[in-house]
C-alpha cells in the first residue's frame, strides 16, 4: 500500500483564503455588474411590458418578438454576439478603462469598473434580463385589470396618466414576489462575463485555482458566497414586499 499525502481541508482552506483580496475584488465586480444589469433590465423591462400591453398592434408585436428572441437564445451566444459585433463591423472599441482602487487590510484592491469587456457584459446582461423582467411586469400589469384604467379615464386622466398613477403603483407592488426570481437568478448569470475576460468572482476563482491547484475548496467557497448573497437579496425583497404591501393588493 502506498501512503498518499491526503489533502488536508483546513490547510487548503487557509491557502485559498490567502487570496481573499482577489476573491473579494471579484465579488465586488460581480455585484457591480449585477446591480447595473438589474436596473437596466428593470427600466427596459418596464418599457417592454407597457409596449406589449398597451402598445397597439405594431409595438406590442415588436416587444413580444424581442422578449421571445432573448428568452429563446443562449445568454452566452448573446454575449459573444455583442462582444464581437463592433470588431466584425470594423468599429474600433478603444483601449480605455475606468478603474478604482483602495487599500484594505494592507492589500491594494483594484477593480476595473468599466472597459470595453465590462460594458459588453453589462449591456448583454441588461438586455437579457429585460426580457424576463418584462414578462413578470406584464403579468402584474394584467392582474391589475382594465377596470382600474377605465376608472382613471372616467375621471379625465389620459391613458398614460392612468397607467402611471393607477396601474403601475399597483403592478409594481404586486410584482415583487415574482420579480424576486429574476433578482435571484441574475447574480448567477453574471458568470458568463468570465468568457470575455472580465475579472468577476468566477474569473478570480479560476485565477486562484491556477495559482494554488486547489479547485474543489475554491469553488465551494465561491458557491457559499453566491448562496449567502442570494439569500440576503431574497430576504431583502421579502422585507420590501411586506413594507410596501397594501390591504387587498
Amino acid at each position: 500500500m502506498i501512503l498518499q499525502d491526503r489533502p488536508n481541508p483546513i490547510r487548503e482552506l487557509l491557502t485559498v483564503l490567502e487570496y481573499w483580496d482577489h476573491i473579494f475584488s471579484g465579488f465586488l465586480l460581480t455585484m457591480w455588474l449585477y446591480g447595473w444589469a438589474l436596473l437596466m433590465g428593470f427600466v427596459l423591462g418596464l418599457i417592454l411590458a407597457n409596449l406589449r400591453q398597451y402598445g397597439g398592434w405594431l409595438l406590442s408585436r415588436i416587444a413580444s418578438g424581442y422578449i421571445e428572441f432573448m428568452r429563446g437564445t443562449p445568454l452566452l451566444a448573446q454575449l459573444f454576439f455583442i462582444y464581437f459585433l463592433p470588431s466584425s463591423l470594423n468599429i474600433p472599441v478603444g483601449d480605455w478603462e475606468i478603474v478604482t482602487s483602495f487599500t484594505i487590510l494592507n492589500k491594494e484592491i483594484t477593480i476595473i469598473l468599466l472597459n470595453y469587456r465590462t460594458l459588453a457584459g453589462l449591456i448583454t446582461l441588461g438586455l437579457n434580463s429585460a426580457a424576463y423582467q418584462a414578462e413578470y411586469l406584464r403579468g402584474a400589469i394584467m392582474s391589475v385589470g382594465t377596470e382600474q384604467l377605465m376608472a382613471a379615464q372616467s375621471l379625465g386622466m389620459s391613458r398614460i396618466a392612468g397607467i402611471w398613477h393607477v396601474v403601475l403603483p399597483q403592478a409594481l407592488r404586486r410584482v415583487i414576489p415574482a420579480w424576486s426570481n429574476e433578482a435571484a437568478y441574475l447574480p448567477k448569470y453574471t458568470v458568463v462575463v468570465y468568457f470575455i475576460g472580465v475579472k468577476d468572482l468566477f474569473a478570480q476563482a479560476h485565477f486562484t485555482v491556477a495559482l494554488t491547484f486547489i479547485s474543489v475548496t475554491t469553488y465551494v467557497i465561491i458557491a457559499i458566497i453566491f448562496l449567502v448573497t442570494i439569500t440576503l437579496i431574497s430576504k431583502g425583497l421579502d422585507i420590501l414586499h411586506k413594507k410596501t404591501t397594501i390591504p387587498g393588493l
Partner: protein, 255 residues
C-alpha cells in the same frame, strides 16, 4: 326649460357580429334624473360607455352642452372630467385610501394643490357619510362603503352629469339602502344623473323620466307614474312584474 345638458343622437354600437345598440336618442336637461332599465344584454351599460366615450359608438353623436364630443378632434380627457361615472363593481383605486381615491382626480386632472384637494375630498366624503373612513383602503371597506366612496370620487370633480352603471347590483341586500339614500340625496340636491338600475323604488322617488331599453332600442319612455300605472307594451309589463317578484321593491329603505 333651458337647453339640454346632454343630447344623445342615434347611437349605434356593435361588438363583432352582435348589434348591441340600434339607434338610441334622448335628451337630458339640467337637474334631470333619467333612469335606464331593461333586460340584461339590452345595451344599458354599453350606452353609458358610449356617452363618455370609454367605448366610442360606431355611429351617432353625443353633445355635452352643445359640444359634439364624438368628434375625434375634441380633447376627450377634458370632456370626461365633466362626466362622472359610478361603476357596478366600484372600481376604486386599490392602492389608494378612500380620501386619495376622491382627491386624485382633483390633483391630477384639475391641478388642485395637495392640501386643497384633500380639503375638498374630505368635504365630499362627508356628503356621502364616509369621512370617518377616509384613511381606509378599499379592501377594508364594505361594498356599500366602497360604492359611496365611488360616488364621492365622481362628485368631487363637479361634473355636469353623473352616469351610474348599476350601482347597487353588486351589493348585498342589506347594503343597498345606504347607497340608494346617498344617490337620492344627490338627486334632490339637483345633480343631473343617468342611472342604470332596477331599483324601482329609487326610480319612483326621483326619476324625471324612465327609459325602457330592449334589444338595443328605446321601447318605451315616460314618467314613473306612466310606468307604474299604465305601461303600454306587454314587454314592459312583464318585465316590471318580474322585477317585483324577484326583488320586491326597496321603497321601505328610502326615507
Amino acid at each position: 326649460m333651458d337647453k339640454p345638458i346632454l343630447q344623445v343622437v342615434d347611437i349605434w354600437k356593435s361588438y363583432e357580429d352582435l348589434q348591441v345598440l340600434k339607434g338610441v336618442s334622448f335628451e337630458l336637461r339640467e337637474g334631470e334624473v333619467k333612469v335606464l332599465f331593461g333586460p340584461s344584454g339590452s345595451g344599458k351599460s354599453t350606452l353609458l360607455r358610449c356617452i363618455n366615450m370609454l367605448n366610442p359608438p360606431d355611429k351617432g353623436e353625443v353633445f355635452l352642452r352643445g359640444e359634439n364630443i364624438t368628434d375625434p378632434n375634441v380633447n376627450i380627457n377634458a370632456i370626461r372630467a365633466k362626466i362622472g361615472m359610478v361603476f357596478q363593481h366600484f372600481n376604486l383605486f386599490a392602492h389608494l385610501k378612500a380620501i386619495d381615491n376622491v382627491s386624485i382626480g382633483l390633483r391630477r386632472v384639475k391641478g388642485f394643490p395637495k392640501e386643497e384637494a384633500r380639503a375638498k375630498a374630505l368635504e365630499v366624503l362627508q356628503s356621502v357619510k364616509m369621512e370617518d373612513w377616509a384613511d381606509h383602503y378599499p379592501a377594508e371597506l364594505s361594498g356599500g362603503q366602497q360604492q359611496r366612496v365611488g360616488i364621492a370620487r365622481a362628485l368631487a370633480m363637479d361634473p355636469d352629469v353623473i352616469l351610474f352603471d348599476e350601482p347597487t347590483s353588486a351589493l348585498d341586500p342589506e347594503l343597498i339602502g345606504e347607497v340608494l339614500q346617498v344617490m337620492l340625496d344627490i338627486a334632490k340636491a339637483g345633480k343631473t344623473m343617468i342611472v342604470v338600475t332596477h331599483e324601482m323604488g329609487f326610480a319612483k322617488a326621483v326619476a324625471s323620466e324612465m327609459i325602457f331599453l330592449g334589444d338595443g332600442v328605446i321601447i318605451e319612455s315616460g314618467t314613473p307614474e306612466h310606468f307604474f300605472v299604465s305601461p303600454k307594451s306587454e314587454r314592459v309589463k312583464n318585465f316590471l312584474n318580474q322585477l317585483d317578484v324577484l326583488y320586491g321593491s326597496h321603497e321601505k329603505l328610502l326615507k
